[in-house]
Symmetry: D2
Subunit: 331 residues, 4 copies
């Protein structure tokens, strides 16, 4: 019973079908008929004009979006525990040519306007200090918590005042959106670019960079090629994205993962380190308790010495979630 | 009747089957059971120890291999018309952090030891000049010509004398290998790293970087993550590679493409700008002649003002090749 | 009798005096009273608003100017024999983060609008190709030849049409200006940024980057710090520049060097490979002839197998120039 | 009465004299007779073979040394308040091509082996995490505290065990050395490279990178050119360094600055935030107290809301130090 991560789950059948349906030769790179539909389809979803580029990974999505906003001598404000700081092997340093991640604090890995101000006001216009050019937020956050629309709006307002871009890492955007009621525009708010994750949610190897500031896409297009991420058979990536949008597969998958997480969280009470709003549970439990869970067949990561991280996926079997729920209640 | 490029052809059925067979959840990234087989399988093919990393594109494969050999202040000697110089949107400049491509000449886009010496001897140990750290050759070359084993050996000897790495761009390695008789080790020779292409030959989105100098792979592994090319569901990439190795699908596909090219070349005679040794034909023909071919339903790229480039693929229908052959004969 | 280069000549007495005069402690970096005068003083010289940054070397000056115009995924069009391509140890690749130098041809190392168009038109808007963002020209050129005002204007017009920045490497700007009659504005034309060289013309270690597009200076200021070129005792650099502007020392020095070169050129006739318009002479002469010159005490660089490069400086003794002139006449 | 910083102090007369003495033309760059003496002279000082490169700034010195040890995908462990992290405008990100500064803690801005282990042990060999390649320490530290020889030795032992380079930022190395008794080898310990600062100690614009691991210098030499830091009249930089070594000017200057600081510290008692071991005093004092000092003519920087930073220099007048001392005693 796997609660390691959603990032290695199986591919959704609709995705397989769409990929096979795209098998006939077509124009290479992103000139094919499927890729050409992306802007309109995502535009309809968000109710807002956008330009969409596919890439294979969330790391590339985040970095290409940020690289379109931030010059090499600039900086990106992000949470101290953001994925771009903690887990991407230095990719932002590579894609942004040594631009600096400027770390700020906040509950449950969510930034606040005050935290951003504290990080940047003291060094404003000081040539000896890297100056910020963008803010990056994660929806849902590293701790599975969801920015509410007004929280995003407040950060966007600050970004605009300071001339900063606003980028959203949405590796689990679908889960955040499901939590907020299913309206994509609410979950994204007025960000300039969104890394809309599909791989963790039933895709094979395709994420969407959604540029609401479409001029940024003109830059990102060249950067994508330059980073070796312009696949020649792009139609197979575009097909994955459209298959997930069709009939709201993306939202159904996220709801299923969230429901499994809620099932488990419902018994965890005081053990919860953070509210469970998406598909991740951070559970206070001792090494002995973790061992007990593992003896019952549950697989998951330790989170430091005194906690576990449990992640559900679009296809987590209902019975596995129930079993884990019971096991936690019995600890 | 498509002779545009092999880079957007359909995916081979064996590849689809292998991907579906890998659908059960497994360890993420390259920790899965399929990825774990790569070193041994490629090692057996080449009769030589190697470490293999999958990536989605040939651009990434070439650049990651070179980045493991060349520091930012160094240079790579390549042919003036090499793909890394001409068509990768500045990717080497990105991955190698501004290292310089040092251009050399040679017939049919193949380097010779003399050409390499001419490029580097005059600037040796001059601190005002970028110093070479690697040689990059393309098998088959940009003009569809194949390095013979003794030619590779001579370049490898020079590389060793000068302390340079030797990298092979094998986007069409299979076609070169088929031309040379089908022995992978002959077609690769003693290079340090090979970008073994599968996408143009029936794959979906997976290429293999084969490191014969396995220490280079230790570097490339970190660089791959840093470049956003460590996909979380890597088993689907590994499965593509193994599906092509199984039963020599890769070689059969390349032979089919080469045979189609040979069929066409057989009538082209003096129109050929380069020997046809793989699956590309560079054909002298006027704008009017190209128009005539297009009127008959053939699609292909112009090659400057007075020539056309025709590329066959693993699934080019025999009747299309015959038809094109006749059409050329009738020009 | 030294004709090696002007780049290691002695420092002009006025420069020494000005440096000593700036010895009292003042604000660090470029906050001091001397540095604060630069914009106005250069603005008066060029009759045009500008922002001026000092740096220690021409390499840094060129690269910082270009880095303010060109993003990492872009390119710079320059002459195939430009200093930034040939002699700066890969500095543009470093400062521009892997941006590409796009090489073009032209007589005596001078670019023409046609040469620029030939270099960039065929790859326009092709995502597989690095796109140009700036043109770099050298005044005087690598072969000591001077762009006339109308030639610069034509290039500036093209740059504007194509949305490209225009940068001038003026390592020997003073010599070019002296040739054109001494009006700085004529020699610079409508470029966006000029590397105005002082080191080769009697300075110790200070060059001026003159930004006529002053917004570029806002970027370059951060880049200068980031490159370790914001010296803490900047007043000693600023003092050098002002000392040279005072009483037109810079122009007198350049005139002296040009006159010495003209003296030598006057006897060289058909041996001249390029018109002698500044302070460099490229002289056709055999190895035996060069040996003969060296036996008479002249020191200079070979220029390939069949030529010599002779450079005069601000303090080349008149009798040395006359002696060399006679020696050449006697070859 | 200036206690702002030592970085804009006047140039020592011996330095002026040596520069003037080097005025005759010589080989350009670092081929001149003065530059050629550096290795031997510093080798004698440290009693250890070394290769020495001059550069104009400490930022360049630190970054070039680190760039010779750390690949772009690697990291540098430094103190959270190290100058390379706090005050160099992102220069390490530029010179190291996006390599990561891995921050660690420690009293008075000094690293300890435990702090280093805490920073790197949890992420060891994890491809998703930047791996360390070097440790950087500052002698004296950002808070004017001095590493004792056994402290450096312990860090060097750890570095060796883990295969890490060890670099020392010695912007105030002379002050640290004076504190330790004047033996350069004690103050440097077994580091691989030392940025030996001269500018803050009476130089004009020259620092020495002392490579005890001389192979690193082979890399740094190319990187220096590439960074635009290979000045053509290098003899004027080398002359500054030698002038300071001659007759131990460097040590006398540092002793004078330290003595002035000690004078001030002697009255500060509980106001001292850190031991005063070099030439910096961090003084707890309220805004009103700082205002009072300023009213008496003292100039210095605030250090946050409740403290002041006071820095003495080689030429701080004795009477100024005494006056400040009295003023502090009277607060």
């Amino acid at each position: 019973m796997l609660f390691m991560s959603d990032n290695a789950a199986s591919v959704h059948p609709a995705v397989w079908n769409a990929m096979r349906a795209a098998d006939a030769p077509d124009a290479p790179y992103d000139g094919d008929a499927v890729s050409q539909q992306l802007d309109a389809r995502f535009g309809a979803l968000f109710g807002r004009e956008c330009t969409v580029l596919w890439v294979a990974t969330g790391t590339a999505a985040n970095c290409l979006a940020l690289a379109s906003m931030v010059p090499p001598h600039g900086g990106v404000i992000c949470h101290r525990e953001a994925h771009i700081e903690m887990d991407e092997g230095g990719a932002p340093g590579f894609y942004l040519h040594g631009a600096k991640l400027m770390l700020a604090d906040g509950e449950s890995a969510k930034l606040t306007p005050d935290a951003v101000r504290n990080a940047i006001d003291p060094i404003r216009d000081d040539v000896h200090q890297v100056q910020p050019h963008a803010i990056s937020i994660t929806q849902a956050s590293e701790y599975g918590c969801v920015y509410r629309p007004d929280e995003i709006a407040a950060l966007a307002k600050l970004a605009k005042e300071r001339g900063l871009g606003l980028q959203m890492d949405g590796a689990r955007f679908a889960n955040a959106c499901a939590f907020l009621g299913g309206h994509a525009a609410d979950a994204a708010g007025p960000v300039d670019a969104l890394s809309f994750g599909f791989v963790k949610n039933g895709g094979l190897g395709a994420e969407a960079i959604v540029f609401f500031d479409t001029q940024l896409a003109d830059v990102a297009r060249y950067r994508r090629k330059r980073a070796g991420h312009l696949q020649s058979k792009g139609r197979y990536l575009a097909a994955q994205l459209l298959a997930m949008l069709d009939g709201d597969v993306w939202l159904d998958n996220a709801r299923a993962a969230n429901a499994a997480a809620a099932e488990i969280a419902s018994v965890a009470n005081a053990r919860l380190m953070h509210p469970v709003e998406a598909n991740e549970i951070f559970l206070r439990c001792s090494a002995a308790e973790r061992e007990a869970l593992r003896m019952q067949g549950f697989r998951f990561y330790d989170w430091g010495a005194d906690a576990a991280r449990l992640v559900t996926a679009w296809n987590t079997p209902q019975e596995h979630a129930v079993a884990l729920s019971k096991a936690i209640a019995s600890l």
